[in-house]
């Protein structure tokens, strides 16, 4: 079955790299992506390792790149993905990159500083302009109020004591004399507190006028747009002035010199206007320069990022290596697949050549007692199935991998529940579209999680759709309707029923005992469409689907138990074959294997004429356990000779299996152990009962795992491990109970195949009858319009409920059947994944950031 059946054979290798060639070799291996390195210095801190300085240099480069990226993003220049992923750079190139980035960062910083100063100037001028334009109104209003003619509040009047004689003449204002003022700009949201604080700390002896600046201004430091307000504060005396200035400083208000007379202000405003215009040209030129610089590097940004990532990854790997005493060699350990060794060696040679070193690197296979990682080579088709298995648990090294079987059984069991050709076709088409446009869709990376899940599972959806079409044809269910392709095997015989009878008697029943209504041959493929219109359709389908579920379910469990035999044989564990596989197999066949035989027998041997006394299989199974076969009702009576004795024999056999399963293995293990003690032999196969005693408390399945001695043989600590009979026995006890009860509950659990199929069929029938059929019943133009209108809700509900919701539910149930009912029979899943050092993965991760 190829490599999917068991994971790749792994080799633990020792890698000797010459110091000069190390970088090139590792980067070649990174491009190859087939080697998993082991950390040789787990005790060392990240900053105590050999190549920490290089890693730091990479981080510094990344910081600069991030800085540049931020600048580029601020100018909204697109950064295209590189057409091809750049090769990992030489160590020489690292220095080149460093200087480039250094230069760019410096240049960018200079440009930014210049721009900031320019913007600061610009801001100052604009603010001053606003002050000047608004000042006139402030002064007018102020004068108006201060004139005294309009002052109504007495405290306002108290603000203005008679002018002291020493007031400086230059700052006098209008007729009121020595009122001084400061003008400035402050953030708009701070105005209320600003005003309040002014009022309080100056005891009301100031007078503030403010006006909002309508256009947002750019903060030169952050580049954000802020809203500001112009204000003018009028006050009297030096002390207040100091105080006001302090408060302004506290609120980060910028103060400006504002001339007192209107003429001066006008002149100044004109001057400022020209200066603003000058500044604007300079500013736009410097921004242009900045833009040009950024555009020129924008194309390279992503490629640079990848390069730096690669360098950093290589040094991270090198940090895991040991340095030999002579400092000439780096020594590391790695895992790789046995069959990839030649490719790895080639890569190492290329690396050596690239670095111009004469001494070759050496890949040396070594013996290890460690448990190798599990590496299943997958392609884009098998990947999703493997990941379904892996999410339950990664297979142990060389353990039978359920993934290849899952490829078939998963869509098949799904389709049993989702059996509707119409829905299957829709699903198939959707998946087909994804598969056909695969390359294109893959390039446009999406962040949409739901879409990514669907897209990742496109092949499984494709198969599920395909199998559902088949199952739908078998159930003869297409959007809850049936096709009569080959002509039904049943028809009302014209001699027995006249057309009048057929039209006027709703409850006419075709008589299966009488061959006159039967064409003589059954419907050749799938369910006869005549059932679609029969009253007992559900009763019949239930019985049929239940039996089908049992047959497929028990077969899958049989298959699982057989796979456990494969594991035991592969790991040469004869104890498991005779003490676990055999009793398990017997137990399962004696009860449920026999049940399948009975189902087939009933289908073949019992016909309509015997329907009154047809054996009830459920009752029969119960009777088998009770050893009691009452004659009344006749369905529970024996239906073949010697049934009672045969069934009792089967039951006895099954019961014998229980103690066999329970006791045999611990006893044999104990005997083997004591024999070994005597011989003082260091053997592999003994301790298995001891090792995996972790008992999963949720109890369902995971403890029924097959044992093999493989793991112990690789831990290398056999001497230390004590065999404890009690522990082995308890473990086996749990295992036995779990298996025997599991067989029964799992068989019952497979009935979900029927239950979900029933639910799906019923739901789609209800949807048809309640929604779309309403329209079909109408005639004439109303019917036309009704069909037009009602099609939409029917289609939407079909897709939303039947396809998506039901599909999801069927998927989850299939998942459960595989994880719990199937895999619990043989799958241990205690391995760990092979995680090779691959550049493409590292770059992918960085792209996601």
């Amino acid at each position: 079955m190829g490599s999917l059946y068991r994971s790749e054979e792994m080799a633990a290798c020792q890698l000797f790299l010459q110091a000069e060639a190390a970088y090139a070799s590792i980067s070649e291996l990174g491009e190859l992506g087939l080697v998993q390195f082991k950390d040789m210095n787990p005790d060392l801190n990240s900053f105590q390792r050999k190549f920490v300085n290089e890693v730091r240099r990479c981080e510094e480069m990344e910081r600069k790149l991030r800085f540049l990226e931020k600048e580029i993003a601020r100018d909204q220049i697109p950064m295209p993905d590189p057409k091809e992923i750049p090769n990992s750079p030489e160590p020489r190139e690292m220095i080149l990159l460093e200087t480039t980035f250094e230069k760019l960062e410096k240049e960018m910083n200079e440009v930014n500083v210049n721009a900031t100063t320019l913007k600061k100037n610009f801001l100052d001028l604009t603010e001053l302009k606003h002050i000047l334009t608004n000042a006139q109104t402030f002064f007018d209003e102020a004068e108006f109020e201060i004139d005294g003619s309009t002052i109504s509040m007495s405290d306002r009047a108290a603000v203005l004591p008679p002018p002291p004689p020493t007031a400086s003449p230059s700052r006098t204002l209008g007729p009121t004399g020595n009122i001084r003022f400061v003008a400035g700009v402050v953030l708009r949201e701070r105005i209320p507190t600003f005003e309040r604080l002014l009022w309080r700390s100056c005891r009301g002896n100031v007078f503030l006028r403010q006006k909002e600046i309508d256009t947002p201004l750019e903060d030169p430091n952050t580049g954000e747009e802020v809203m500001k307000s112009v204000f003018v504060i009028f006050f009297q005396g030096e002390q207040l002035k100091a105080k006001v200035k302090k408060i302004c400083e506290g609120f980060r208000a910028t103060l400006y010199q504002c001339p007192e007379t209107a003429n001066e202000r006008r002149e100044m405003a004109a001057g400022i206007q020209t200066r603003i215009e000058d500044l604007n040209t300079v500013l736009s030129q410097s921004l242009d320069h900045r833009h040009r610089v950024l555009v020129s590097i924008a194309d390279d940004m992503k490629a640079w990022h990848m390069k730096v990532r690669k360098i950093k990854a290589v040094y991270h790997v090198l940090n895991m290596f040991n340095v030999d005493v002579t400092q000439k060699y780096l020594i590391g350990e790695c895992w790789c697949a046995e069959r990839h060794r030649s490719r790895i060696e080639t890569a190492l040679r290329t690396g050596t050549e690239r670095s111009g070193s004469s001494v070759p690197s050496i890949l040396n296979r070594m013996e290890t007692t460690e448990h190798p990682p599990t590496y299943n080579c997958t392609n884009k088709f098998t990947k999703v199935f493997q990941s379904i298995v892996d999410s339950y648990g990664v297979a142990g090294y060389r353990e039978v991998n359920p993934a290849p079987f899952t490829i078939v059984t998963f869509p098949f069991l799904f389709s049993l529940m989702f059996g509707d050709s119409g829905h299957g076709v829709l699903m198939f088409m959707a998946a087909l579209a994804m598969v056909v446009m695969e390359t294109k869709l893959m390039q446009t990376k999406s962040d949409n999680e739901i879409w990514n899940i669907f897209f990742g599972g496109r092949y499984i959806i494709l198969l599920m759709g395909g199998f559902s079409i088949y199952a739908g044809l078998m159930y003869n269910d297409i959007f809850s309707k049936s096709f009569n392709i080959f002509g039904s095997g049943w028809y009302p015989h014209p001699q027995r029923y006249s057309e009048h009878t057929i039209d006027h008697h709703k409850d006419l029943t075709l008589d299966p005992t009488n061959n006159s209504d039967y064409r003589g041959h059954p419907y050749p493929f799938g369910m006869d469409p005549v059932w679609q219109m029969s009253l007992n359709k559900i009763t019949w389908l239930n019985s049929f689907k239940m039996k089908i579920s049992i047959i497929f379910g028990v077969s899958q469990m049989f298959f699982g138990v057989i796979l456990s035999l494969q594991n035991s044989r592969y790991f040469r564990n004869s104890v498991n074959i005779f003490c676990e596989f055999l009793p398990q197999m017997l137990f399962l066949s004696c009860i449920f294997g026999y049940l399948i035989v009975l189902i087939l027998y009933k289908w073949i041997a019992i016909n309509a004429t015997m329907s009154a006394c047809a054996p009830s299989l459920l009752i029969d199974l119960i009777n088998m356990f009770l050893l009691n076969y009452p004659l009344e009702p006749c369905s529970s009576a024996e239906f073949y000779d010697g049934q009672k004795s045969f069934q009792s024999f089967l039951l006895l056999l099954a019961l014998v299996c229980v103690p066999w399963l329970l006791i045999a293995k611990p006893i044999i293990l104990k005997r083997q152990h004591s024999k070994k003690q005597v011989q003082l032999l260091n053997n592999n196969d003994e301790f298995e009962g001891r090792k995996s005693t972790e008992i999963n408390l949720d109890g369902e399945t995971q403890t029924s795992k097959q044992k093999d001695g493989r793991k112990d043989s690789h831990t290398g600590h056999e001497e230390e491990e004590e065999f404890s009979f009690g522990e082995a026995f308890v473990h086996q006890c749990i295992h036995t109970i779990e298996y025997c009860l599991g067989c029964i509950s799992h068989t019952a659990s497979y009935l979900r195949l029927w239950a979900l199929s029933l639910a799906h069929a019923e739901l789609s029938e209800v949807l048809w009858n309640m929604v779309f059929r309403v329209a079909l019943k109408m005639s004439g133009y109303t019917g036309l319009i009704a069909i037009f209108i009602l099609f939409t809700p029917w289609a939407v509900l079909t897709i939303a409920i039947l396809l998506l919701m039901e599909g999801l539910s069927a998927f989850l149930h299939t998942l459960r059947l595989h994880w719990v009912e199937f895999q619990s029979k043989f799958y241990k899943g205690d391995g760990y994944l092979f995680d090779p050092f691959r550049f493409d993965k590292i770059i992918e991760v960085s792209a996601d950031d």
Binding site: N45, S46, F47, E60, R63, R196, L197, S201, G250, R252
Partner: protein
């Protein structure tokens, strides 16, 4: 507030803060940190912890002050997020936590202005958790009354400040008195607020705040020896919500030297141990460190119970301790003074 309805308003935040708590550095992290040779090493190791890339965008060479700022920034971001997501009473509770930082900031600014420092130089030194709008205008005030009337009257601290208005000028001693008086009023108010919340919040917070109050009482007493602070005034500064109240405080008020303080602590089992184990000899923990250790122990306890606000307070305190630890280690590394590098206070 009872446990049944707690999650409706505060479940998310409690989950969040427990998650944040998981990111607090462990003993093993500290063991790695103290092995650092340079600040770059420190940065590299912090990268592998929950701090992640918080220093990644800083250009080398790294300064301790930069680390300090970034540590604060991270805490503030986390705290502000929680504050923005919270509703009363948790919102009020979180606000109370910030008040202590406001007090520190006010005192810092006043002291700074007293020493003729420019306000722009002082502002960056303020803790961002305790910043408020009028903060930068603090330096206009030259007397406590002015301070109150002009600036603080709009802040939540106004009610705490009323007792201090009587002070005449702002000099060193008076500022210290103001700080302690503010703290006293704050702690008592916070304590009262937590009592109204009741339940586990009340229980855990009364422990935490009682300890805080007692610690302040001890420290005030010890620090007042050799100053011109009269005993009566000193007694007024003791927060009255701790375990020392009332007998212990009365005894502390009479204390004249360290030995007498120690004698007071003798009566309280939890404090006796702290005093016994502390000493000023090099290589042994100081009383301050012992207090910190005790605080950490107390704060960790808050996480053992669910459905109460104590964990928010505890988280901020633990994070603060962690920042102190990291800064301590960073300083030791930066100044190549490794002898006392391991006198940090491990949390978990």
């Amino acid at each position: 507030m009872n446990s049944l309805n707690f999650n409706i308003d505060n479940g998310y935040l409690e989950g969040l803060v427990r998650g944040f708590k998981g990111g607090i550095l462990k003993q093993t992290d500290y063991l790695n940190l103290i092995q650092c040779e340079t600040l770059e090493d420190l940065k590299l190791h912090l990268q592998s912890t929950d701090y992640g890339n918080f220093l990644a965008n800083e250009a080398s060479p790294l300064q301790v002050s930069v680390i300090d700022d970034k540590l604060k920034e991270k805490l503030v971001i986390e705290f502000q997020h929680m504050r923005n997501q919270s509703v009363t009473p948790l919102a009020t509770f979180l606000d109370y936590i910030t008040y202590s930082y406001m007090i520190d900031n006010i005192v810092l600014l006043i002291t700074g202005t007293l020493h003729q420092r420019a306000i722009s130089e002082l502002i960056p030194k303020c803790h961002p958790l305790g910043s408020f709008e009028q903060m930068e205008a603090l330096h206009i005030a030259s007397t406590p009354a002015e301070l109150y009337n002009a600036v603080l009257v709009d802040t939540p601290l106004a009610s705490y400040f009323i007792d201090c208005i009587s002070e005449q000028d702002l000099d060193e001693l008076n500022i210290e008195i103001i700080r302690n008086a503010l703290y006293k009023a704050y702690l008592e108010d916070f304590y009262k607020f937590c009592q109204t919340l009741g339940d586990s919040t009340g229980a855990y917070m009364s422990d935490a705040l009682a300890f805080e109050a007692d610690r302040r009482a001890f420290i005030i007493t010890i620090n007042s020896f050799g100053t011109e602070l009269p005993k009566d005034d000193r007694a007024k500064l003791y927060p009255r919500c701790g375990k020392l109240f009332p007998d212990g405080l009365a005894a502390l008020a009479r204390a004249d030297d360290y030995e007498q303080v120690r004698a007071v602590a003798e009566y309280y089992s939890e404090y006796r141990v702290l005093f016994e184990e502390s000493s000023n000899n090099p290589g042994e923990k100081t009383l301050e460190d012992k207090f910190f250790e005790y605080e950490v122990m107390l704060m960790k306890k808050a996480f053992l119970d669910q459905f109460h606000f104590g964990i928010f307070y505890a988280y901020v305190k633990l994070k603060e301790q962690e920042s102190r630890n990291i800064i301590w280690i960073a300083e030791c590394v930066a100044q190549r003074h490794r002898a006392k590098i391991d006198s940090y206070i491990p949390i978990f």
